[in-house]
Amino acid sequence: MDQDTARQVTIVKVVLLIVIIGGWELSARYGLIPVFWTSSPSLIATAFWESLKENEITYHTYITMQEALAGLAAGAVVGIMLGLVLGVSRVLGAALEPFVIAMNSLPRVALAPLIVMFVGIGFASKFLLAFSLVVVPIMLNTYEGIKAADPQLINMMRVIHAKRFQVFFKVLLPNCVPWIFSALRVSISFAIIGAIVGEFISARAGIGYMIDSAAGAFDTTGMIMPLIVLMVLAFSIDRAFVATSNRLLRWRDEGLT
């Protein structure tokens, strides 16, 4: 993208943001849309400020992010390990593939009640739910990353008499890094979904709990405000992740956007 286009895109982005928020606020003020059902930006901002002063939103966000990020981290470690093992071992990989895909086609959210029954309504159930949503896609992507290694590169390594572990560390592993990164990126939102759904089932804290309580009181503003906090947070994490990954994967043709 050249500089002129980039500037135009930025301008359009800002205009869109102003139009959406401004339009929403004005329609609410002039009674075009009922505030009871859709709230308004100023109500949400006020609610956010109040909640911030009470240290409420910060606490619940902290709880949810802790569950999601712990699930993401554990899911990434386990998923990458399993993916590497499957990718390196021809027999194991081919044998386990259908099982893994069957697991993956299961809507994991439906596991939530079962998980809550097993481990209770505390941190563990949300952590496990986030973990279960994240681990399979990361594992499958790692596995694909190994399978997608250019056979020519492996031939080159064989000609120079590389040992198996050298082929693994110098070709297969670096080859999966971009695959792992793109899996991690989608996993950020998967992990948050897992944590929130866990909180919906039953919880004493967290964004999901906040939304659920507000819903019980028909408090639209109270439901939308945490959603927006979550959205802004997830968006920032995604941006930071993309920036990091583009810096690390400078050798690739095109980065993530």
Binding site: D150, Q152, L153, N155, M156, M157, R158, V159, I160, H161, A162, K163, Q166, K170, V171, P174, V177, R250, W251, R252, D253
Partner: protein
């Protein structure tokens, strides 16, 4: 070598058994199953000898099994029937001093030019300082000074192929297998790299087996040109080039001997290339 027709003033003694042979192949055949489970004969009783410090080109129609032949010598494909020896040992032996320049550069995209060039030394366990010094020297020979920090995607196709060449030569192999190494380059780049490689070779005299479909390239670089048939691949004819060295490419191309060889080899190849084309259509 009953099947081989000797073309134009063959110098006696080529291909005979010799303790100095870099590569000796006898009666090598190779079959594959295709997707319909039909037997596909790829190579049919190939005999070939490459002497130490000899430069041999192999030309042949596409799909005649030229690359397969190199993979046997490199030990990448196990031998089915016949025998292959590299410096008197079976192919793929530990520590065999072989370099292989692939048609596609086969550079590791996440390593920069310098890191790519050192890979064979790194795998062997040569120390960092020494391997980087040797790599820098070889990159200098290839005219790549100042590009050490670039990733493969940041340099041109011709430069990538020179890095690939530097990576192969830095290990100082006694035998270099080259599979259409300059085939994907544009005409000018190709000429420059050919000249560079010719100069290097005439200084160092490694054994080279050079596969190409470019007749002019085959003749201008090599001591001997082998012509392969369309599938199943056999050695159809053999030509001693006999143009004195050191050579320069523009001079070689205007020599009567060059034209004579070019015509003769094309005569052999035309029928085979047609067969290969019709087999495909």
């Amino acid at each position: 070598m009953a099947a081989v027709r000797m073309g134009l003033q063959v110098v006696a003694g080529t291909g005979g058994p010799d303790a100095q042979d870099a590569v000796r192949i006898a009666g090598l055949s190779f079959r594959l199953m295709d997707r319909q489970k039909r037997q596909l004969q790829i190579l049919d009783h190939v005999d070939l000898a490459l002497k130490e410090a000899e430069f041999v080109s192999i030309v042949g129609p596409s799909g005649c099994g030229k690359s397969t032949l190199l993979n046997f010598i490199a030990g990448l494909t196990p031998v089915q029937s016949g025998s292959v020896e590299v410096f008197g040992t079976p192919p793929g032996a530990e520590g065999a001093p072989i370099g292989y320049v692939f048609q596609q550069h086969a550079l590791l995209p996440w390593r920069n030019v310098l890191q790519n060039t050192v890979i064979s030394l790194e795998v062997k366990g040569v120390g960092k300082a020494e391997r980087e010094q040797r790599a820098r020297e070889m990159l200098g020979v290839m005219g790549l000074d100042g590009f050490e920090d670039h990733f493969p995607r940041e340099i041109s196709g011709g430069m990538r192929q020179r890095v690939s060449l530097a990576r192969t030569l830095v290990d100082n192999p006694r035998l270099i297998l080259m599979d259409e190494p300059f085939g994907a380059l544009d005409a000018q780049t190709k000429l420059l790299i050919q000249e560079m490689f010719l100069k290097y070779w005439e200084e160092h005299r490694k054994s080279v087996l050079f596969i190409t479909h470019d007749l002019a390239e085959a003749i201008a670089l090599a001591d001997r040109v082998l012509v392969m048939s369309s599938r199943p691949g056999r050695i159809l004819a053999e030509y001693e080039v006999g143009i004195p060295r050191p050579r320069t490419l523009d001079q070689v191309r205007h020599m009567a001997r060059f034209t004579e060889l070019h015509d003769a080899i094309w005569e052999d190849l035309r029928g085979e290339a047609l067969k290969a084309m019709q087999g495909r259509a």
